[in-house]
């Protein structure tokens, strides 16, 4: 153990070793301040102003906003698609085509009756002539008489939820009572919808990955810039024996805070966007664009779990910012040393 004290008397210094490490290096004797020194608020070792924080916060905020919009849109499309699928999958459609020598009305009634007695079917609704005309109105115009056209009749049967229908047996039964009838369980539609939803989610994940990569690159550049600007500080810290972990932590705190600020701003704006989107969608309702969006995305409002997902994503992007800066800090410290 080493230690010592010295005092000044008439310009002369004396210093003794006494083995007490806590003794001061110099003792001012009568020059010692009589009032205990006040506690000081120490400056941060890495000044906040030395890091181009505003630009980085803006970059992280924009990235978080884009990621949140992407995630929100994917969630909306997925929710709408799931709703369509459950609606479409809970119905089957029987089409009875007119044929020479057969009475379409009687075949339709026979098929409807056969469907009613089929286990697992809770409701059967044959479309009347007027309803069929209404379905064709967009293409053929109004005032149409179906008697002049060989238009098939449609019967919609609603299935009991959770029922697995024996489609082959049903087809055989329907063909027995009306040979010109065909059964459509909407499988092709459902497959197409699944493909569309999958493609949307895939595209969303792709955009998220790109946004995260862009965020990592931006943060790495910002971290390198901050380290370059603060290189004299890093060198002095090395001189006084600071290890890389100590130095990296001084910078890391700034970047974690910048990442959180950017994440909160970007995620918050995205949440406000979705919060007001229902009103915004209302402004466009009645227009072709508005109707298309409504058909695609439903009410255009996120569920509470969607907002939670956006909040989690903002935290994730802040964490990615912190991780990217930490990784860059250590690699840059290797270069500086």
């Amino acid at each position: 153990m080493r230690g010592g004290w010295c005092c000044i008397r008439d310009g002369c210094i004396s210093m003794n070793r006494n083995g007490n490490e806590q003794r001061p290096l110099v003792d001012l004797g009568h020059e010692r301040p009589q009032v205990p020194a006040r506690a000081r608020n120490l400056s941060p070792i890495v000044p906040r102003a030395s890091i181009a924080g505003r630009a980085l916060v803006a970059v992280v905020a924009i990235m978080t906003f884009l990621a949140s919009i992407t995630t929100g849109a994917v969630l909306l499309v997925s929710a709408s698609a799931a709703e369509w699928q459950s609606e479409v999958a809970s119905e089957i459609t029987i089409q009875v085509r007119p044929a020479a020598g057969r009475d379409l009305e009687r075949d339709t009634a026979a098929v409807a009756e056969a469907m009613r007695t089929q286990p697992g079917i809770v409701e059967t609704r044959p479309f009347s002539k007027e309803e069929s005309a209404k379905l064709l109105e967009p293409w053929l115009g109004s005032g149409l008489s179906l008697d002049d056209l060989p238009v098939p009749r449609v019967i919609v049967a609603r299935l009991q939820p959770g029922t697995t229908l024996d489609l082959a047996a049903l087809r055989a039964r329907v063909s027995q009572v009306a040979p010109t009838a065909s059964v459509d369980d909407h499988r092709a539609w459902i497959e197409r919808m699944r493909s569309m939803t999958g493609a949307t989610v895939f595209a969303g994940i792709g955009i998220l990955v790109l946004v995260i990569i862009a965020t990592i690159i931006s943060v790495s550049f910002a971290t390198r810039g901050a380290m370059a600007a603060n290189r004299p500080i890093v060198e002095v810290l090395h001189f006084v024996g600071a290890g890389d972990r100590f130095i990296a932590n001084r910078f890391f705190r700034h970047f974690l805070r910048l990442g959180l600020e950017g994440g909160v701003i970007g995620g918050g704006i995205a949440m406000l966007f979705f919060g007001f989107s229902e009103s915004v969608a209302g402004w466009f309702s009645g227009t072709p664009v508005g109707d298309q969006f409504a058909a695609l995305l439903g009410t255009f409002s996120l569920r509470p779990s969607g907002y939670l997902a956006l909040a989690a994503q903002a935290v994730l992007i802040a964490a990615i910012t912190a991780w990217a800066s930490r990784r860059t800090l250590f690699s840059t410290l290797d270069d500086i040393d």
Binding site: E21, L25, R40, V240
Partner: protein, 232 residues
């Protein structure tokens, strides 16, 4: 006291150089076949003409340069085998005063001097009095809240010296420590180094200043044309 990694051998000397050479890139060898010891508690001046390699030798001693050849042993450790954390731990046992002071401009004089303690993780209340006393002793009592850009060259130099000695290192390296101060203050700073040496710190002062060296009878390490001549 800061502690470094466990030494591989008994610390007879703080520093041992054996046939050390140094060159920058593909340039000529600027330090050649340096072999010397710096014993614990010793005091020495390192001198020689400008460009002789004094600062490079100090940087080798401070582990901020690696030798091109030869063996450098510091505190019982072969420096070529040390990792970054071990080097950082050893640096806590060394104080250094550089010609360009290397003070942090955004920190007050007090904070600059207290920096080694902050790096050690000590609470501000545990070192406050010690830092203030040392600042007063080096004549910076009235300047402890000033930022380095408004300090004179001499004041910066004193602050840099105070920062190097505040943690009472085992080895103090000083590069022209009295170059920017008047002779009276120069003598005062030399006395600080001498008193620090009496408490057990080995001191190496690189200087051109013959007057300064004449004030204290100490070992002289003279660098000339890349080679070291030792005058005990």
């Amino acid at each position: 006291m800061a502690s470094g990694p466990a030494p591989h051998r008994t610390e007879l000397s703080l520093v041992r150089f054996e046939n050390v050479g140094l060159r920058y890139g593909l340039g000529p060898e600027i330090l050649r076949d340096l072999s010397f010891l710096i014993p614990a508690h010793s005091f020495q001046f390192l001198t020689g003409p400008s460009g002789a390699g004094k600062t490079s030798l100090l940087r080798l001693l401070f582990l901020s340069l690696r030798p091109t050849r030869g063996l450098v042993n510091l505190f019982g450790h072969d420096v070529s085998l040390l990792n970054k954390d071990e080097i950082a731990a050893l640096r806590k046992r060394i104080g250094i005063v550089l010609q360009d002071f290397r003070l942090l401009d955004h920190m007050t004089t007090y904070e600059n001097v207290a920096l080694p303690f902050r790096v050690m993780g000590r609470a501000e209340s545990s070192y406050r009095k010690e830092v203030i006393d040392l600042l007063k002793w080096v004549g910076l009592g009235e300047r402890m809240d000033a930022l380095p850009p408004i300090l004179s060259g001499g004041e910066k130099q004193r602050a840099a010296i105070a920062r190097a000695v505040i943690s009472r290192p085992q080895l103090l390296l000083a590069d022209e420590p009295t170059g920017n101060v008047d002779p009276t203050l120069g003598r005062r700073l030399l006395r600080l180094f001498i008193e620090l040496n009496k408490t057990g710190t080995a001191v190496v002062i690189a200087t051109h200043d013959i007057t300064l060296m004449d004030q204290f009878d100490a070992r002289r390490l003279v660098l000339h044309q890349g080679r070291l001549h030792i005058y005990e």
